[in-house]
């Protein structure tokens, strides 16, 4: 295992380094446990690579600054936890409708409200999908190791740029603060996606002109000579507000289809020992690590258990979950909330097999033993 490049790194630190490797050159934030190391690190690292860090007056301002920086052409990110996420939602909705690429990191802690500042939780799963009001697409990713905190952050930026939308990266206190041995890839080996710039001269440019079937409009940076209007009101191709029902439907339809037409590109997951599994664990983030240990314990006892780990939380890996439900007898969903993802899994499974939750919302991590005991209990 000896490797000169192997080092001990924290999840929050790896997330920041992944962001910088992806090309992030602007960070605005307001520190909050357990995400603070990301902002702290950004304040030190960004000036070294020609980037800008701003600590804003609050989370609302941070999100607004990130949107502004992205419009001006920079890859931009903010990081927070539940209470800050609640405040950012208004502007995340704005970024959704105005199609402004950016990455929002939520290192989850116990909630609701200011909740349990130093304890882990996974209870912002539904907020990440539906926190901003109105029908809107979502991409939400969730790494499960320090090494993935790096690589999945790169993916978050790539998807944000490619589909022109805010991408939420979820972690939890354990993921954010855990330090682990990592060997990071060479920056030159990374695949980096950048937004499409305008292919027409300024006088011909229409800011929201795109194929109605899920097309992504071109995005020149403010300051490059392209003057256009950006509004949180429903707008037509020229960027100005409209209340026309047909144009409204076309816009919302296109926004949803950006995602729906590209599920294969966006939905990422890890399958482990599913082939012969009678019981399948579906887990994400730090809980997936407990699930993996529990699976190994069960396999040692000859119990055929598999693990399905969504890395993309939203859009939901519906087809894959349906396929699992067609083969497995039982699905167990451990999560540090009171059953948020389980409800979505139950909807997809539609009674084809039993779905059982293991839920904790008390600030404590679910242990491999908790899961193993449940496996034995449902045999």
């Amino acid at each position: 295992m000896t490797n000169n490049q192997a080092k001990l790194m924290q999840g929050n630190e790896a997330c920041l380094e992944g962001a910088i490797a992806a090309g992030m050159r602007f960070f605005a934030g307001y520190p909050i446990t357990p995400s603070t190391e990301i902002a702290e690190g950004a304040s030190e690292r960004l000036p070294m690579v020609g980037g800008k860090f701003i600590q804003m007056e609050d989370e609302i301002g941070s999100m607004a600054a990130v949107i502004g920086a992205s419009l001006a052409g920079l890859k931009a990110m903010t990081a927070t936890s539940g209470p800050g996420m609640s405040l950012k939602l208004e502007n995340i909705g704005y970024a959704s409708l105005t199609e402004i690429p950016c990455v929002i990191v939520n290192v989850q802690r116990g909630g609701p409200s200011t909740g349990l500042p130093t304890s882990p939780a996974q209870a912002d799963i539904m907020q990440a999908r539906w926190g901003a009001h109105g029908d809107h697409p979502s991409i939400v990713l969730y790494p499960a190791s320090v090494s993935e905190a790096y690589s999945v952050t790169v993916t978050a930026f790539n998807l944000a740029e490619k589909y022109r939308m805010p991408v939420i990266l979820l972690m939890d206190e354990v993921m954010g603060h855990m330090r682990e041995r990592v060997v990071l890839p060479d920056a030159k080996d990374l695949q980096i996606v950048n937004r499409e710039k305008a292919s027409v001269p300024p006088e011909e440019y229409l800011p929201y002109k795109a194929d109605p079937d899920g097309g992504v409009p071109e995005m020149p940076a403010f300051g490059e000579g392209y003057r256009y209007h950006v509004t949180g009101l429903i707008h037509s191709e020229n960027g100005f507000p409209t209340t026309d029902a047909k144009k409204t439907a076309t816009l919302l339809n296109r926004l949803m289809k950006k995602i729906d037409n590209n599920l294969d590109d966006i939905v990422k997951y890890q399958e482990d020992s599913l082939d012969d599994a009678k019981i399948v664990l579906i887990a994400y983030g730090s809980t997936a690590r407990s699930a993996k240990s529990a699976m190994d314990m069960a396999r040692e006892q000859g119990i055929p258990v598999g693990l399905f780990r969504p890395i993309t939380i939203w859009p939901f890996a519906e087809d894959k979950v349906k396929e699992i439900a067609g083969k497995a007898e039982k699905i167990i969903v451990p999560e540090m909330n009171l059953g948020q993802y389980r409800s979505e899994i139950e909807r997809a499974v539609a009674g084809k097999c039993e779905v059982i939750g293991i839920n904790r919302a008390d600030g404590e991590i679910i242990t491999p033993e908790d899961i193993y005991e449940k496996i034995k209990g449902v045999l």
Binding site: T118, M178, R181, R289, S290, S293, I365, T367
Partner: protein
């Protein structure tokens, strides 16, 4: 596949987080796998705090310590709070100020870690490094070379001699016993 679980506990501000980081980094220098986690309350100083390390030759999934093979306690509060789950084959290393209870484990060492840092090395703040010297002398968790390198990689410039001295002092209190 061998795996060792270590729990380092004491009071917030005693540098146990750094202690865990250094231990994990030393293990990585030795070519092993390591994970470090922590648990703390909202306070920056005081209270019982712990830092946990798992060192293994293979993959580590669940990152928290369940049954410590090695348990360090620098304060009574931390000892009382975290001793419960000690492995039956586990080793307890406690500061001599700690009144140890009757627990099932392989061995209990009560050593003057805090006094040694304060009086022999001259700075109470290096108690965490003294403890590292002590732990490694008793358990040979990592190679002495890797431990020294990991300590020197992490401590502030200008304090190398002080920390090297702390490491040696930690080692020596085991031999004086």
């Amino acid at each position: 596949m061998s795996s060792t679980e270590i729990r380092l506990s004491g009071s917030g501000g005693q540098g146990l987080l750094l202690c865990g980081i250094i231990l994990a980094e030393a293990a990585i220098l030795d070519g092993k796998n390591a994970v470090q986690t922590q648990s703390y309350g909202p306070e920056a100083r005081g209270g019982a705090s712990k830092s946990e390390v798992i060192i293994s030759d293979g993959d580590i999934y669940y990152p928290k310590v369940r049954k410590p093979d090695i348990f360090l306690a620098l304060t009574q509060e931390a000892y009382d709070k975290y001793v419960g789950s000690i492995s039956k084959e586990g080793i307890i290393i406690a500061d001599q100020s700690v009144e140890v209870s009757d627990v099932k484990c392989a061995k209990i060492y009560c050593l003057p870690i805090l006094d040694t840092a304060k009086n022999d090395v001259g700075r109470i703040m290096v108690a965490n490094i003294v403890a590292l010297g002590t732990i490694n002398e008793i358990t040979s968790l990592v190679s002495p070379e890797a431990l020294e390198r990991a300590v020197l990689n992490r401590v502030p410039k200008g304090t190398e001699e002080l920390n090297r001295k702390a490491l040696v002092a930690g080692k020596e209190i085991c031999n004086n016993k």
